[in-house]
C-alpha cells in the first residue's frame, strides 16, 4: 500500500465518505464539542501505564500498524487473555463515551485493530470488546469473516479515494447535523451555480 492512513479514517468513512475525504484528502479539520471531548478523553487515556486488572495484563495506548491494510493507529487498551488452548492472546478494547451504536462503525474499528495486532504478532484473534460509557457496559465483538471482509472492503475504498484525491459530492442528510465539518463541507450547496447567477442577473 502506497499510503498509510490512521485507523480513525475507517470511522470517518463510515460516518460519511465526504467527511473522510475532507479530512484525509483536503486536510480539513474543525473541532466541535464532540471532537474536543473525545480528544480530551484520549489525552487522559493515552497517558495510562501498563497494569493488571483481575489477573489480566493490560496495556494502554498501544501503537498499531498494518502494512497490508495500510493503517496505523492506537488502541485504547489491549488485554492479554488466554484463548481456548490456554495461550495468551491480545484482546483489543475500545472505549467509547456514548451509547452502543446500531451500525457497525465501532465494531469495524475494533476488528481493524485486531487485524493490525494479528499482522504484528502473527497470532489469530477471535474477539475484542467495546466499552460504552453511557451504560458502563462492555460489548463483545466477534471477529467473524463478515466483519473482516467489511474492514478489508472499506480500507480498499478509502485508499482508492485518497490515492485519486477524490472528494465525493455532498449528500445532505441526518448525519450532517452532528458533523463538525458542516461549515467546511457546505452540504446544501448544489452544483447549480449557473442557475443561481441567472436568477440574479434577471432580477
Amino acid at each position: 500500500m502506497p499510503n498509510t492512513l490512521p485507523l480513525s479514517a475507517l470511522q470517518h468513512y463510515m460516518y460519511c465518505p465526504r467527511q473522510c475525504a475532507l479530512i484525509h484528502v483536503e486536510k480539513v479539520w474543525v473541532e466541535n464539542r464532540f471532537t474536543a471531548e473525545g480528544r480530551l478523553l484520549h489525552l487522559r487515556a493515552d497517558s495510562g501505564v501498563p497494569g493488571r486488572r483481575g489477573g489480566i495484563a493490560e496495556d494502554r495506548a498501544v501503537p498499531l500498524r498494518s502494512d497490508r491494510l495500510g493503517l496505523y493507529g492506537i488502541a485504547d487498551v489491549v488485554e492479554m487473555r488466554p484463548n481456548s488452548t490456554g495461550q495468551d492472546v491480545p484482546y483489543p478494547v475500545e472505549y467509547k463515551r456514548g451509547q452502543p451504536k446500531v451500525d457497525a462503525c465501532d465494531r469495524v474499528q475494533v476488528c481493524a485493530q485486531a487485524m493490525c495486532l494479528e499482522e504484528m504478532l502473527g497470532v489469530r484473534i477471535e474477539q475484542g470488546a467495546i466499552f460504552y460509557g453511557k451504560p458502563r457496559r462492555r460489548e463483545i465483538v466477534l471477529l467473524d469473516t463478515d466483519l473482516r471482509e467489511l474492514v478489508e472492503r472499506i480500507c480498499a475504498d478509502i485508499h482508492v479515494m485518497v490515492e485519486e484525491r477524490r472528494v465525493p459530492d455532498a449528500e445532505y442528510g441526518p448525519a450532517c447535523r452532528g458533523c463538525s465539518l458542516k461549515s467546511e463541507c457546505m452540504p446544501k450547496t448544489t452544483k447549480r451555480v449557473a442557475q443561481y447567477i441567472k436568477k440574479y442577473l434577471e432580477s
Binding site: 461549515s183 457546505m186 447549480r192 451555480v193 449557473a194 447567477i197 440574479y200
Partner: protein, 343 residues
C-alpha cells in the same frame, strides 16, 4: 460556522505591540497600555510607525491571526504569516485553472457579474431612497447601461471581452457616482477615480476603504489555503494580490462605496478632517481615519442573508464564505463560482 472576530487597527504612531500570555499589549508612546485577548481577534492592522515584537508576530501566526503593515495613509507594505496553511492540492488546482484561459474567463465573468449586479443594486437603492435629490434620469440611464452589460455577460466571453465589459460598467457607474453624494457637493466633489495619491476627499476615502477590504479578502483567501496572488481576472503581476483583487470586485460597491457615501452623507467626516498637500494629494487626519475604521468594523458586523447559502451571517464573514466557495469551485465541487449578490 467561523465566528466574525475583531480586527485590531493600530494607528497611533510610535505604538509598540507585544505578547503577554494570551494577550496583545499595545503600548502607546506616552506609556499607556491596553490589552486585548488574542482569541477575540482575527487580524491586526498596523498603520505607519507601529512596531511588533517577534514573539507577538509568531504567536499571531500560530493562531491564524493575520498581521498587516500599512503606511500611515493606508498603502499596503507587508504582512506576516505563519507556515503556509491549507492544502497544496488546492493551490495546484488554482494554478492549473489560472493557466487555463477558458476556466479563468469563467471565474472572471462571475466576479464581474457580481460587481456589476451589486453596483446596479447600489444605484437602484439610491434612486428609490433619494429620487427627489438626484438626477434620476442620469442614474436610471446608468442602471440601463449596467443591465445591458449583465445581459451580455450571460453568455461565455473571452477574458478580454469580459474585462471590456467591466471597464464599461465601471465608467458608467463612476460617471454618476457623485449623484449619490447628497451633502456638501461643492466640497465633496468627485469627477472620477484617481489614486496614488488621491487628489480629492472622495477618492482619498475610497482608496482607504478599498485597502481595508483588500486586507480582509486577502486574509480570507489565505485562510482557506488559496494563493491570493494568482488571480483569474487580474493576471499575475509581481507583488499584486490578483486573486484578492478579483474577489474584491463584488464587494466594492456594496461595502466600500456605500460606507464612504454614508460617512459623507451623514456628516461623519468633514472637510477639515483632511489635509491637502502642495502636490494636491489629499490625506485624512488621525481622527477621520478612526471614524472610517469604526464605520468599517460596524459594516462588517451588520447582518446579511447569504443569497447562495441562504444563511444569515455577519457581512464580514461573507468574505470567508466566498473564499470557501471559490476553493470549492476550483476543486470542482461546485460547477462555478457563485458571486455574492446584495439586495
Amino acid at each position: 460556522m467561523k465566528k466574525l472576530l475583531n480586527t485590531l487597527y493600530v494607528s497611533s504612531q510610535g505604538s509598540y505591540l507585544s505578547k503577554d500570555g494570551e494577550c496583545v499589549v499595545v503600548r502607546s508612546e506616552d506609556g499607556q497600555k491596553k490589552r486585548f485577548p488574542i482569541h477575540v481577534l482575527d487580524g491586526v492592522v498596523c498603520f505607519g510607525n507601529v512596531l511588533c515584537s517577534p514573539f507577538l508576530l509568531g504567536h499571531c501566526a500560530d493562531k491564524g491571526v493575520a498581521v498587516s503593515f500599512l503606511t500611515e495613509w493606508g498603502r499596503f507594505l507587508a504582512s506576516v504569516r505563519g507556515p503556509q496553511s491549507g492544502n497544496v492540492l488546492l493551490r495546484r488546482a488554482q494554478y492549473r485553472m489560472a493557466d487555463d484561459c477558458e476556466s479563468s474567463a469563467e471565474i472572471a465573468r462571475a466576479c464581474i457579474i457580481g460587481k456589476i449586479v451589486n453596483s446596479r443594486a447600489v444605484l437602484r437603492r439610491c434612486v428609490r431612497d433619494h429620487g427627489d435629490r438626484i438626477d434620476r434620469e442620469a442614474l436610471s440611464a446608468t442602471v440601463g447601461v449596467l443591465d445591458d452589460c449583465t445581459r451580455r455577460l450571460q453568455t461565455p466571453l473571452l477574458l478580454d471581452e469580459a474585462r471590456g465589459m467591466e471597464g464599461q460598467a465601471a465608467n458608467a457607474y463612476f460617471s454618476v457616482f457623485s449623484q449619490m453624494i447628497l451633502q456638501n457637493r461643492d466640497v465633496f466633489t468627485f469627477t472620477g477615480r484617481n489614486r496614488r495619491p488621491p487628489v480629492d476627499i472622495v477618492n482619498c476615502l475610497l482608496s482607504f476603504v478599498y485597502t481595508l477590504l483588500a486586507h480582509d479578502i486577502r486574509s480570507a483567501l489565505e485562510a482557506v489555503g488559496l494563493d491570493p496572488q494568482v488571480g483569474f481576472l487580474h493576471r499575475d503581476r509581481p507583488g499584486r494580490p490578483g486573486l484578492a483583487l478579483d474577489m474584491m470586485e463584488e464587494f466594492r460597491a456594496v461595502l466600500a462605496d456605500r460606507l464612504v457615501l454614508s460617512l459623507l452623507n451623514r456628516g461623519e467626516v468633514r472637510e477639515r478632517g483632511f489635509v491637502r498637500k502642495e502636490s494636491g494629494a489629499v490625506f485624512m487626519d488621525d481622527e477621520t481615519r478612526k471614524v472610517v475604521l469604526t464605520g468599517w468594523q460596524k459594516r462588517k458586523q451588520s447582518e446579511v442573508t447569504h443569497p447562495f447559502l441562504k444563511e444569515k451571517m455577519a457581512f464580514g464573514l461573507v468574505f470567508h464564505v466566498q473564499a470557501k466557495l471559490l476553493a470549492r469551485c476550483i476543486r470542482h465541487d461546485l460547477d462555478g463560482y457563485p458571486p455574492f449578490f446584495w439586495k
